[in-house]
């Protein structure tokens, strides 16, 4: 035991190790019928870690230029040992992570964990969600196949519809007027440097805030517990909650491995910038609800183009959603039920539109 305690002393003198250990030892997680939702945040973090690791591994072989991108991904899939595994985990992992991020966001919404004093946690989380969608959008172009380029064209076209700033944004994203090799370089920089940098900072902030305020207890449960203190039930984070979370992480990794082995991510055909767009191009599933909405909007409404109206509406919705804690100050009653109702509507709208988009092909 001598070496262990010597090591501990060494760490404590430099990093305040004992303080950290004490904090973790004392951290508890409330246990109630909604506790399972607490896993979602950690799961998203774990999947982000997987993305970083597989992403760095892909960086060892990937070449971000129009002559090299497709070929290097093909090389990874066919020549590099287990390249298919790393690449497929990265591609599937992205989708699963976006799913858990969205689920995490909705669960925090419905459990009302965004309320005072956790407003900044919600805010940083929402920004992280937008960054994650940005990761998805920028990463999708990197394999440089026909789907990638078409989806990027459509996506940046829509950005170009934003009033006032739209065209500038389009040029900024595309590195020019059209989607070209310049777009690829730019998206690569965004995907491996800018977004990771921002995400790391925000994750740090987000996690620190979560530790600072502890896990939030939903208002209903809180009321029950206040009325009957005997019902209060907390488990220790370490080892109890952590072991369960570890199980969930193993399951997640098993799912990713199975997806990679049974359904490796496809290579597609190399992008041809001069070919016309293939029929039926559509964005990835997480953008489908917006895509479908824009398709359904009339081309003009009171002299405003339908697309612009759609973008403005989504922008407004996103802004309101992000600033939610400042609208819902935590008073129970009708205001709170309105917010919950709006949340149910939003969830049903997103799910409904996504399903509709796939059925109405």
């Amino acid at each position: 035991m001598g070496t262990a305690s010597n090591l501990r002393n060494w760490l404590d003198e430099r990093f305040g190790w004992d303080q950290i250990v004490t904090f973790v030892r004392h951290k508890t997680v409330p246990q109630h019928r909604f506790s399972y939702f607490y896993f979602l945040g950690g799961m998203t973090l774990f999947l982000f870690g997987i993305q970083v690791v597989t992403g760095i591994l892909l960086l060892l072989y990937y070449r971000p230029s129009p002559d090299g991108a497709f070929e290097s991904v093909q090389y990874i899939m066919t020549q590099v040992r287990f390249g298919w595994l790393i690449r497929s985990i990265h591609a599937w992992g992205a989708n699963v992570m976006i799913l858990t991020a969205i689920a995490h966001m909705f669960s925090v919404f419905f459990l009302k964990s965004y309320r005072k004093p956790r407003e900044l946690t919600w805010l940083s989380g929402m920004i992280l969600l937008f960054l994650v969608l940005g990761f998805g959008f920028s990463g999708y172009l990197l394999p440089w196949n026909t789907l990638s380029v078409s989806a990027t064209k459509v996506g940046t076209d829509i950005t170009g519809q934003v009033p006032l700033m739209g065209h500038w944004l389009l040029i900024f994203l595309r590195g020019g007027e059209d989607v070209t090799g310049a777009t690829l370089t730019r998206f690569f920089g965004i995907h491996v440097a800018i977004l990771p940098g921002l995400a790391t900072m925000l994750i740090g902030l987000h996690l620190w805030l979560v530790q600072r305020f502890g896990m939030s207890v939903p208002p209903k449960i809180d009321a029950e517990w206040t009325a009957n203190p005997a019902k209060v039930h907390e488990v220790r984070f370490f080892p109890n909650f952590f072991l369960r979370e570890l199980m969930a992480w193993y399951v997640a990794l098993a799912i990713l491995g199975t997806l990679a082995a049974f359904k490796p991510w496809e290579l597609g055909a190399k992008a041809d910038l001069f070919a016309s767009a293939p029929a039926g191009i559509r964005p990835e599933w997480y953008f489908m609800f917006m895509f479908q909405t824009l398709k359904l909007l009339p081309s003009k409404f009171l002299a405003i183009p339908g697309d612009v109206l759609g973008i403005l509406a989504f922008g407004l919705a996103a802004a309101v959603w992000t600033l939610l804690p400042f609208f819902d100050q935590g008073k129970q009653g009708r205001g709170s039920r309105w917010v919950a109702g709006a949340g149910v509507f939003a969830l049903m709208y997103v799910v409904g539109m996504t399903v509709y988009a796939y059925l109405a092909k």
Binding site: L57, L60, D67, S72, Y75, R81, L85, Y250, L253
Partner: protein, 154 residues
Amino acid sequence: MQKSNSNDPSKPERRGFLETFLGISVVASLISFLYPVLRYVIPPKQAELGSDLVLAGHVGDLKPNTGKIFPFGSRPALLILTSDGNYHALSAVCTHLGCTVQYRSDLREVWCACHNGTYDVDGRNISGPPPRPLESFGVMLKGDEIYVQRQRNA
């Protein structure tokens, strides 16, 4: 902290067994994750040159006024050494119906056996059915190695 020993004498063995079992399986799982990663980072034997640069042959492979077919990416290409000592590299996929063309030393032209189409050594379609010229590639010599490169496009 560990719980204090219970009165049950069988418990210590079970406790040890569970921890050992878990420890071994966790280590095994970590190995099963790290093994692919380690194999991945070791570069494969065939280094990738990229689809637009291919080693077509060596000086001396071709006699003057002859040509040879070599794989360029996934399609055949034609390397010609004309009698003036210049190398020409063209796509060998005929622009008519896709047959593989060949260099005819007697005609000093590129010829397609399928429907008698002809091109000059720069790929221009001269006679017969071909509607378009053959794509022309750049040739670079490095020592005695002949490299063929796809011309840059915008």
